[in-house]
Amino acid sequence: MDTAANENRQAATMNSVTAEAVPEAAVVTPRPAPKMSSRRSSMPSWLMKIIAPLLGLAFLVLIWQIIAMSNSQFPTPLLTLQEALKLFADPFYRTSPNDQGIGWNILASLQRVAVGFGLAALIGIPLGFMIGRFKFLSSMFGPIISLLKPVSPLAWLPIGLLVFKSANPAAIWSIFICSIWPMIINTAVGVQRVPQDYMNVARVLNLSEWKIITKILLPSVLPYMLTGVRLAIGTAWLVIVAAEMLTGGVGIGFWVWDEWNNLNVPHIIIAIVVIGVVGLLLEQLLVALAKAFTYEQVSN
């Protein structure tokens, strides 16, 4: 695998993507330590790989403990762990619409992300293809995209509420808006960067437009498209928490806000960890998907 080239390509694409997505992107590549360092230390490298993250975690817990001891309102790690065990013992209870298990809340958020994200992919990817393929469309939509891309997706929430007259579609609308930009931009960049050699092959073989799309454009754009999808899902997961805090109902974001109103700080901390874990899993899922569809570039 030509990972170095891929890395470059992704780095290049990231520059052109929403500001919110960049911190996500920075976390994506946990590279194994270079071989040099394992030679300097006497520990075997697999042990280093386990010990270093554990030390980091221990450090975090220690800081937390110190904060908890100096502030009586802040729960200790142990107390939070006990609360978490209680919470996860029954994640799928449902007593009233406003009192449901954490599992239901996570699923509700994931469902919104899936719908908004899916709609964005359905519209954004074909649009990106067209913008990449036709210079006129690129000049036509370029300024609009540049103008709307930096707008926080939450600023679109009132428009969603106004149009859809309901909280749930409005939240989905925010997800849609934030996911669509990276998908359009990355797909368009991918189409523009299809190697000229491949297009020359298409011209010499006189391939039909359908064959050009299925045999040349799609496979060579796919890695770019998946980078866009990956950035989009990261942003979508960031946005849904904030959107749900505003819209209410069921969802992990609403749950955080609800627990704040109950002044249940351990639950808020648990929610933060859960949000992080789910985001990480989504990201990893798409990284794996992207790897499976990345082809080695032709070189001698």
Binding site: N206, S208, K211, K215, V298, N300
Partner: protein
């Protein structure tokens, strides 16, 4: 021989001017060249002399700013499978197997007249011709550079083109692989009686393979400086030719042109 075959490819007063961001670039001027049917012509010159541009003009990948290019009595108005190109970097699609890469062209040319199994047979025959039957199901990154280039040649020849255009096809290969592929190309061309136009910067390659060597002057505004007729009997054999005085003479006259009359432009030494 019919006049039509004598002027199978006919280039008349071709000019090529590129519009770049730094203004116009006059790449080629006054190109007049005819290629006989079944002839093997090489274009040689220093880098930047526009030999690839001329090949792309014949391929139809570029259209001339002025002048006319004719192939088999029809003006060249764009790329076509009848003028197949073997690219320098072979340009195989990395997501397709070798078989599929070749099949893509075969399908396009013959699917109107032949059924699926016949198309498959053609693809297999092309792979067999370049000795790669066993590598059919491999993807390009799983095979060596020489093998990739052979697949590129097979892809071009499988379409039964009227003209085979090759843009420094062996330029990126090591010397031994290159020699091996040159020998193979000689055999294939003898068997298929193809008309070939090939760009090269290798003097030995040019003398070994060609009927005529077209030597280009340095750019900008490059043109054909001189043409050497290579009257060496075929089939040619590399080792025997090394001691042939006629071979040495052709070699010297090409070297003379390249290094005395058209000394390498320093600015483009890379």
């Amino acid at each position: 021989m019919e006049p039509r075959d004598a002027k199978f490819i006919d280039i008349h007063q071709a000019e090529m001017v590129f519009n770049t961001s730094k203004g116009q670039f006059h790449a080629l001027r006054d190109i007049n060249l005819t290629v006989r049917k079944g002839e093997f012509v090489t274009l040689i010159g220093h880098s930047g002399c526009g030999k690839s541009t001329l090949l792309n003009l014949i391929a139809g990948l570029l259209l001339p700013s002025d002048g006319v290019l004719i192939c088999a009595n029809r003006e060249i108005a764009g790329p076509s499978p009848e003028r197949a190109v073997v690219f320098q970097n072979h340009s195989l699609l990395p997501w397709l197997t070798c078989h599929e890469n070749i099949h893509l062209g075969v399908e396009r040319v013959f699917s109107a007249t032949e059924n699926k199994s016949a198309l498959k047979e053609r693809t297999k025959a092309a792979l067999a011709m370049v000795g790669l039957t066993a590598a059919g199901q491999k993807r390009p990154h799983e095979i060596s550079g020489g093998m990739k280039q052979r697949v590129g040649i097979a892809r071009a020849l499988a379409m039964e083109p009227k003209v085979l255009l090759m843009d420094e096809p062996f330029g990126a290969l090591d010397a031994l692989t290159r020699a091996h592929l040159q020998d193979e190309l000689l055999k294939i061309v003898a068997k298929t009686e193809s008309t070939v136009v090939m760009v090269t910067h290798d003097v030995d390659e040019a003398v070994l393979l060609s009927d005529r060597i077209v030597m280009m002057t340095n750019g900008p505004a490059a043109t054909i400086g001189d043409i050497v007729q290579v009257r060496l009997a075929r089939p040619r054999e590399r080792v025997a030719l090394a001691q042939d005085p006629l071979y040495a003479e052709y070699r010297t006259s090409v070297l003379e042109f390249l290094y005395r009359k058209q000394a390498h432009p320093v600015a483009q030494a890379a």
